[in-house]
Symmetry: D2
Subunit: 381 residues, 4 copies
């Protein structure tokens, strides 16, 4: 227990995220956005010069050569980091997270949680044993409108869910970017770094998580058709999936990284026995609420009719758009609040994606790949 933890900003460390990284910069802004934490230490690259330059650009107090060194050193300091942010490629998530957890340091980790389902199971065990906070940055759950969608489902306004349509469409891999030096493309299409899935792991899991988060329903079975449209690409860059939900509802999840002209088009539509919902990540402050025979309602974040949990995730009055970084910061805000609680001897409250969501995502990847490899047959969860 850290006795001053309620009266200061938390101290964060980062592994990965060196210069040129997209997601490192995102974590940096997100973790500090609400003035509740400051990044003070990092092992930002395995290239020592890049690590050093990255740490200097962020004005970090300490820069380490490796995450092992950092975990050890920070754990031994009286003012060491309170938690670590894991922003390395998938195949390293597990060992980095484990290293910090074993040193008693809380973890916020990128998704998909691990390289393999086995690692995911081991991580669950470790987190349960250590009783530390483990947050997974399924950041799209941080949007107020997504939280309000969940609220409307939970409170019965939508009725029994019958049909869910989830899409996540991008185009950044529609050419073989991995062959032209794009670092992001390189590791994400490499089975030794990304795991058994390409688009399904990178963005499909966001879709799966969004579906289960908002509907409160588990996917019960999947029938998947995965494709690599780029010659010589080893992992899927496109996937079409039929879903059966645990309550008898049906669904579709489609993801693609070869969908010409699509930027980051994550969306969900939920149809229940009473009403429907529609949300698009690229216009995130709007939630469409559809009742048969009645006027379509355009719900907007920041307005008085929104639920308390949507309001808690909103910083600005209506019409002042909040975006991706603010949603990402909402995951951090909730995780930081729980770290304060745990370090004060209180029980964690949650509200952010955890190690169990990470396990679920890894199971999803596993079932989807199995279904597609068997020619597109139904696989139960």
């Amino acid at each position: 227990m850290k006795h001053d933890i309620l009266h200061r900003k938390l101290r964060a460390g980062i592994v990965g995220g060196g210069q040129g990284s997209f997601i490192g910069a995102v974590h940096h802004i997100a973790v500090e956005l609400d003035g509740q934490a400051e990044v003070v230490a990092g092992a930002m690259s395995t290239d020592p010069q890049r690590a050093e330059a990255s740490a200097r650009a962020w004005y970090l107090k300490s820069s380490y050569k490796s995450f092992q060194e950092m975990a050890e050193a920070e754990a031994s300091l009286p003012d060491g980091v309170d938690f670590v942010m894991v922003t390395v490629p998938n195949h390293l998530h597990y060992q980095v997270a484990r290293s910090f957890l074993e040193h008693g340091i809380h973890v916020v980790c990128d998704k998909p949680m691990t390289f393999s389902l086995e690692e995911a199971r081991a991580l669950v065990e470790l987190v349960e044993q250590k009783q530390l906070v483990f947050a997974l940055t399924h950041n799209y759950t941080g949007y107020p409108a997504v939280r309000h969608a969940r609220h409307l489902v939970r409170t019965g306004v939508i009725g029994t869910i019958r049909k869910v349509l989830v899409e996540y469409l991008q185009d950044w891999l529609m050419e073989p970017a991995e062959r032209t030096g794009n670092k992001q493309a390189l590791w994400r299409t490499d089975p030794t770094k990304a795991g058994i899935a390409g688009s399904v792991g990178d963005i499909g899991t966001h879709g799966e998580n969004l579906l289960e988060f908002t509907t409160g329903l588990k996917i019960a079975a999947v029938c998947a058709d995965l494709t690599s449209f780029i010659e010589s690409r080893q992992l899927d860059d496109d996937a079409n999936m039929l879903l059966r939900l645990e309550n008898g509802g049906k669904g579709i999840l489609t993801c693609s990284q070869v969908a010409a002209g699509e930027e980051n088009a994550l969306s969900i539509r939920i149809y229940g026995s009473k009403a429907g919902l529609e949300w698009h990540q690229m216009e995130p402050n709007t939630l469409l609420f559809k009742q048969p025979g009645q006027a379509l309602q355009v719900l907007r974040t920041g307005l008085p009719y929104m639920s308390d949990e949507a309001k808690a995730a909103t910083r600005l009055p209506a019409g002042h758009p909040e975006g991706f970084l603010e949603a990402f910061a909402n995951v951090y805000r909730l995780a930081i609040a729980d770290i304060r609680r745990v370090e004060s001897g209180e029980s964690p409250v949650g509200g952010y994606p955890t190690v169990y969501d990470g396990l679920r995502g890894m199971q999803f990847i596993s079932k989807v790949v199995e279904s597609s490899q068997k020619g597109g047959t139904w696989i139960a969860f």
Copy 2:
């Protein structure tokens, strides 16, 4: 051959479409919209009073008690109808169409074309034998933007098609309307009138037709999951389908009549190796053209850059919205032009959905139902 046929409006007859019918009124407006035909005779209802009142409301010259009587009588008149419009429930399409074809009268028929696949095959044979015009009102192909989408695919602007997403969502059957006297709902959910499929036949076939029309590709295999969400409803009211296209492309077709708040949301998105397209029936004069790394282009009917075939289907300058009736009328306009040609001894030119599209739709229904009945397995076409 009718020697005056180029110098007068054509004379049309109608079977079905009596008062209260939605589609009868649509056909009436559509067939006359361009001043090329006039409805003059009808067998509008099996209820004699309703038939009479309907004919009077349309100022028809002749009202018949049955389609058989009408076919016979009109065929014997010197100024009998040039063609007939078939707007009765599915299970009657075949016999009505056959009756008029056998009397040498051209036919414009509602979709799905017949009650069964067998009837569809018989109709193909009859049309081929009679050498008469047979047009099927897959009206959505009549939209200028849909025709321009096809043009862009054909001219190679989209590249090799990789992924196609088709949706057709409605909510009018989300309650058991067939139990509360809704006549439309009654026959469309009755397997003795609608055939083996519900939503798949009624709207899924529009999706299938739109996909094959715009992409020029055949569906090669389907994996379908059909559901009846309303208790005691005998036919599907919702369907999710994975598609494999003949060129290796993949697709999704989803249709629903229980999607809360959806009006008539037919849409198609096409992603190729070079560019993508998106079209929504409810905003029909807009076609989105998506190229990676370039500005999204909003193509609009009526503007100079549209293709000749889009222009030929457009009546007004840009910004003067044309809608459902105008698209429907485009099918009629093309069919009427062919009737004039055939009656003048020329060869028909086509451009509208024909008996072969109708057969294709019936095959689609058959494969989809088979796939779903087998638990959602892949069925090749």
Copy 3:
């Protein structure tokens, strides 16, 4: 009185609208769209060959060399035209309309109603004296959503109107099209044919009419700034106007024919003490309803909550888009119904724009031009 008038389609004549005319074709489709009238006679061009060819293309029974000849001849026939459609340039409206009215024939006329305010006053007098139907094709009032907007204002849902914003933006005159043989551009920018105003007469009057129609309020004063952005153009192609309404509300009306990239962007926004409304002609089946602190409602034509007068102007279920031609046809449908009434000895019911709306439009043009010529001062109505 014509005793058979309830049991047949009405017979219409047309003056103007010869081949190549945009608005002639619009009138043709609109007048016949509901199967209540048929165009049978025309004086479609002052060029005899074009007149003849145009009449033949429409399968007219009679083609005349001049409107005078047509008025006289048709008036003397037992089955002459019941009404005439006036689709010639502005400077001829008055004499054509007068000629038919004096022969006892009802009139449907394009806007702006006349060339000058004096002619407008004379026409009012003539119509009052003749007791014939005179409809003005301010077609935008025919849209169901516009009628529903008026309904919401009338029933007090909007409260006291405070602010109204009307726009009508096009770009078809942003180059000097009148110098490159565009016939439409030629007469519309010619003060001897169009009158004292350019864009204000052609489209600004639609804005004025839409504002007064939906709000039920009169414009009390205007402060206008008119511009001709194209060198040597004699009439305004752009206008910005501040409005004061009779109830103390304020408004803006802007119109332009040089607004790059705009097609036919007529819109109105109404803000009252209780709620607001927004409608865009280019997406005409949608009406936005805005209440402070509540969800924006997207009202859609064809749905059960629409008012009776919106429903009466709607032919199709929701989601089947109706457009410009259907709205235009609604004006005709109402006028035709009144012609039937008047010819049956009943009183006309109205509901369509009349000679008084035409006079109002001419007054508006006069005040706006005066204000601008005085440097942009306030002119009371």
Copy 4:
């Protein structure tokens, strides 16, 4: 000159922004968002308890009882604040800014810049004399799409600007909120705190600034019609303004705080001799580019075709929405970079709104109010 200034985060102080303040929290997030500054000191409220609690909630190192005390104390510290953020009501801007400038501390100040035109002129003089950075938070200029709009105008793509339409519509004052204890409403409708204008000062100046920023043109004359729709409200809550631009172009600026259902609807449309532009603050990552006769282009932040200055204001790839806070932070980022320059002995580079923009805004307020008070006459600038 501060010799370490390039190797550390800057230290910021804040005046105002105590708990419950909307804009204080915005400044807090914005100034720290890019990890270039940290708020360390504050005089956050004149209420000592609120000041103390606010400072504690932000983990500030120093909390002062008054801005005078803070200016003096911080100026004397070796590690005192590098700049101050002024977030108090308008009538205090001048004296707070002056106090810090006189102590050699850079200033970032809310808009409108001062209470009166006289104060604005005095402030210009003081800033020129002190050679310190003075940034004004016309935050909407911080959006990448706004910067790209300016770029397109500057590079001649739009041609000669003919017409500009600017709107800023809200509804938060449509009821007399100032009589029900809303603190924001209270001072903003109070002429002793807000100055001579209400909505024109609060949001109209944003519109004026956006117009002049993007077009590079000065407003040459205005004709304004201001209204207070709420009884007993002393300042305008609605304004309609005709504009004449220095190049002969025309414009409209309308702002309202009584427009039912509007959230924060700032938008600009620019029409030139070659092309047009349209931008809406509530969908800030989209810029519409309109060329006559060509497809509407939807330009999106984060894509490769954007200009360098738009890219410099963008943190995320396309499709990851950035919003109000990021735009606000862009103003801070540019100002902080200039503070670093000035403190390093370099010349400032600018790129953010300055004291001259603040003066321009105060002149605008003055001319607009004069025009309206004279009954809506044209007033030259």
